[in-house]
């Protein structure tokens, strides 16, 4: 799964604007779609500016952690294919249907196939994290007999995950659409 793999870390500590954004843009240009970058900056203004830049360029701003006066911003490079890509997996459940199921206490396993950084900042309570790129090697962590609801941000990565699981003999797998991008139920973070 080359779509989602290595994170990159970018050191912008001590730099004043516009340099953190200039450097982030350059680094982002080198990344492949779907990859996550960590930008370390000490300029407090970098938070609002990176958010604004991500919004304008379509990249996904995931969140920021502050540690020892260093801001660590996480962004995921937009992948235009994600939206256009045809979804192939048949068994689909909407966000609302899944939310109802969770409220009615039905036991369901939610498999979140986004990147760890996306998962860290915002996820459904109790969701299990296996990034799409690692799924094939971690199938043993899942039970093929369980009902599994697979979620990502927009339904594209989870669609691919569902296909993989079905091909490996998993019996009751559902793709959650559209996914976390519009999830309105309760969430948690690290």
């Amino acid at each position: 799964m080359p779509l989602i793999k290595a994170d990159q870390s970018l050191d912008c500590k001590g730099l004043a604007c516009p340099m953190p954004i200039v450097k982030t843009k350059k680094a982002m240009d080198q990344l492949e779609a779907g990859q996550v970058i960590e930008v370390q900056a000490t300029d407090k203004g970098s938070l609002a500016d990176l958010k604004g830049w991500a919004k304008n360029t379509g990249h996904q701003y995931l969140g920021t952690i502050e540690e020892d006066n260093v801001l660590k911003h996480y962004l995921r490079k937009a992948s235009p294919d994600e939206i256009k890509e045809q979804k192939k997996y048949m068994h689909v459940i909407t966000n609302e249907e899944l939310e109802k199921k969770l409220v009615s206490d039905e036991i369901a396993i939610i498999l979140d196939v986004r990147e760890p950084a996306e998962y860290a900042f915002n996820r459904i309570q109790g969701a299990f994290s296996v990034p799409l790129g690692e799924l094939e090697n971690r199938l043993y962590e899942l039970n093929p007999e369980d009902s599994i609801y697979v979620i990502c941000r927009t339904g594209a990565r989870s669609d691919m995950a569902c296909q993989l699981l079905a091909a490996k003999g998993f019996k009751d797998v559902h793709n959650v659409e559209p996914g976390m991008s519009t999830w309105s139920g309760p969430t948690e973070s690290n």
Binding site: C17, P18, I21, A48, K51
Partner: protein
Amino acid sequence: MEATNALSVMTAAELTRLVLAKEELFILDVRNESDFKDWKIEGERIDVINIPYFELLDGVDPVLDQIPDGKKILVVCAKEGSSKFVAEQIAQAGRGNVHYLEGGMKSWSEHLEPVKIGDLKNGGSLYQFVRIGKGCLSYMVVSDGEAAVVDTARMADVVEEFAKSHGATIKHTLDTHLHADHISGGRKLAEKTGGTYWLPPKDADEVTFSYDKLEEGQDIIVGNTTIRIEPVYSPGHTIGSTSLIVDEQFLLTGDILFIESIGRPDLAGKAEDWIDDLRETLYNRYRGLTQDLIVLPAHFGKISELGEGGKVMAKLSELYDKNPGLNIQEEAAFRRIVTENLPPQPNAYQEIRQTNMGKMTPSEEEQREMEIGPNRCAVHDK
């Protein structure tokens, strides 16, 4: 790389003079949208547009047609770096008369412009320091080698230099109330010059330092010519708020009464309790004073409140005619106006109050960050 000829730097002081002289200027503000919405540079003949610098990383060509040819252009950002980055590109694209703001909005927020308000009866003068970026006003009474400063800004050095250049030693620093929008330089300045720091005791319950009580009936003398600074207890914005009458001519109203608005009672968390005090001060106590007094407030909210040469002042009688905050006849309506639909609170106002009480000691850089944005101490903008 050699700088392009056409690119020049503009200081906050130069920009201030340009605003006060009502000159024409086109500002390209390259901060992000939320910062721009929060506050910006204004002037009667200033046009301003906002295009964040991060939309211009690939060049300025797409926006050149939004920048008028032949006008004086100023590019502005938070600290300077991004505005220089953008201004250079505009200059390289062949535009002339392009400037960037030295030190960005941080410098703009800190610039103090001294303006002479008038002479005192027995010699001496009264000056107003207009902190144009933030809308804060402080004052200096100078008489016979002595000076008293009221509602001093954090940038105490500028004030001290000004006193020196007028051959005066600062003997007193006064705060009309415990400020919530800016960090007071009063205590620091008094320590430095060996002067006395005065604060209304009712606002000083929780302070961690010693001070002299600014109370009614206590005159403060500046110089040998007896310029009396007479405190008048006038609660409402805070419970301790105290006005000052200088030389029987000037009424320093602090954050109680402004030129086009009145003070808000909510910044110390006690809006409900202080409405009656505020009304009493504005509608009775000030009414009982000589109506010829010149009102000098601690803030302005709109550029239209700046008068000739940048002076912010008006006769008390005039304010009773024109200020909407002094013309709300019904008590219920008054109550509503001073508690509902108030503007957002000033940036970091709780931390600023803590700092002014001596409970927090942020670094210089942190203090600068805390003070970013407009003062927002008035009830409305009309």
